[in-house]
Amino acid sequence: MGLDKKYSELKDDVLVKAAKKGDTAAFEELVSRHRDKVYARLLTIVKNEDVAIDLAQEVWIKTWQRLKQFQGDSTFATWITRIAINIGLDYLRKQKRRKIESIEEQIEESGGIERQMPIETVNPTQGLEREELRARIDRAMKQLSDEHRTVLVLHEFEGLEYKEIAKLMKCSVGTVMSRLFYARKRLAHLLAGLKREWF
């Protein structure tokens, strides 16, 4: 079969098989297909465009190096998203270690800096366009702490269960539940106007 020039018509698993044999053109097609998803996931975790681009590059290089480990138990998209999440979380951990004081501890103990952030208000009489709504949610998400934002991303966007999140974030299920609870409360508070329109 000629893999030659019709990579765009091939399914992910065929491209992965070819890439495992060293076909960089097949791998390039995989990068082209999934790079936005990887970048988006990293951006929601690290909140910084330049960092997200650099980390995305790291994700793809690691993916190439580990390609032989991919057995096809999940889809390629799921597999690479997990790699991206792990790299994003590692980055946050390193950043946190560099901080003299842990902002997160203050948030967990005192109720949080996030309460001081501006609240996204919406005019209930004005219908929200889908893109605008997304932009508001994005702004609200950026106001959350790293841990709160990440737990929401993993639960709501990736659809992971508590115990899977606990494993990825290297914490207990109780901590995941607690973080998720406060993250949602903060988000609901930040999107208070939207909530009134919602119900």
């Binding site: 390039e28 082209s32 465009e49 966007f157 949602r184 609901a188 119900f199």
Partner: protein, 181 residues
């Protein structure tokens, strides 16, 4: 006032993480307690609004530029080729290529033949003749056949080569040779 445990139970109910029995208890609590009901709606809203409106981002770098960066890194991270291994691979390729099957097979058969016949063909060194010259007057020839465990030593008077004075000593075995030396 609800406890944190009750609040987390309501959240677990929203997320479908409770058993059926626990879920029924939470449903009862939500139905009976306006505060529980309010929390349920708040958590449900936060979960739903995110799931249904995940922000979409496009990478602000062209595919070509992004791929070039990745490709360079991939090439740099690959181990240097080992010349010896490459050469061995080349040799294996040559030996087992279809066009070479006649000479390769012939060489193989010849090798097997030599191996099988090596005990039949007597080694050449068994027939080496050693010429010894103990003195100016006396000469000698020796002959050894290892496979027969035989050693023959011929001593003669150099002045009377082929004459009556020649002395013949034969045969002796290999142990005798050692003793004689």
């Amino acid at each position: 006032m609800m406890t944190l445990e009750q609040q987390l139970k309501i959240q677990a109910y929203v997320d479908g993480e409770l058993s059926r029995a626990e879920a029924k208890k939470v449903e009862a609590l939500i139905a009976a307690d306006p505060e529980a009901r309010g929390l349920y709606e708040e958590l449900k809203f936060a979960a739903t609004v995110l799931r249904e409106h995940e922000p979409e981002f496009k990478m602000p770098v062209s595919q070509e530029l992004f791929w070039n960066r990745i490709y360079e890194q991939i090439k740099q991270s690959e181990p240097e080729p080992i010349p010896v291994l490459d050469y061995l691979k080349y040799l294996v390729g040559v030996v087992f290529s279809r066009k070479n099957w006649v000479p390769v097979t012939a060489t193989f058969i010849a090798s097997v033949g030599i191996f099988l016949l090596k005990d039949v063909i007597k080694p050449i060194e068994d027939y080496l003749v050693v010429v010894e010259t103990p003195s100016d007057e006396v000469g000698s020839y020796s002959f050894r056949a290892q496979s027969e465990k035989m050693f023959v030593l011929w001593i003669y008077n150099k002045e009377n080569v082929g004459g009556e004075g020649a002395t013949k000593v034969e045969p002796t075995n290999i142990e005798d040779e050692i003793l004689m030396q």
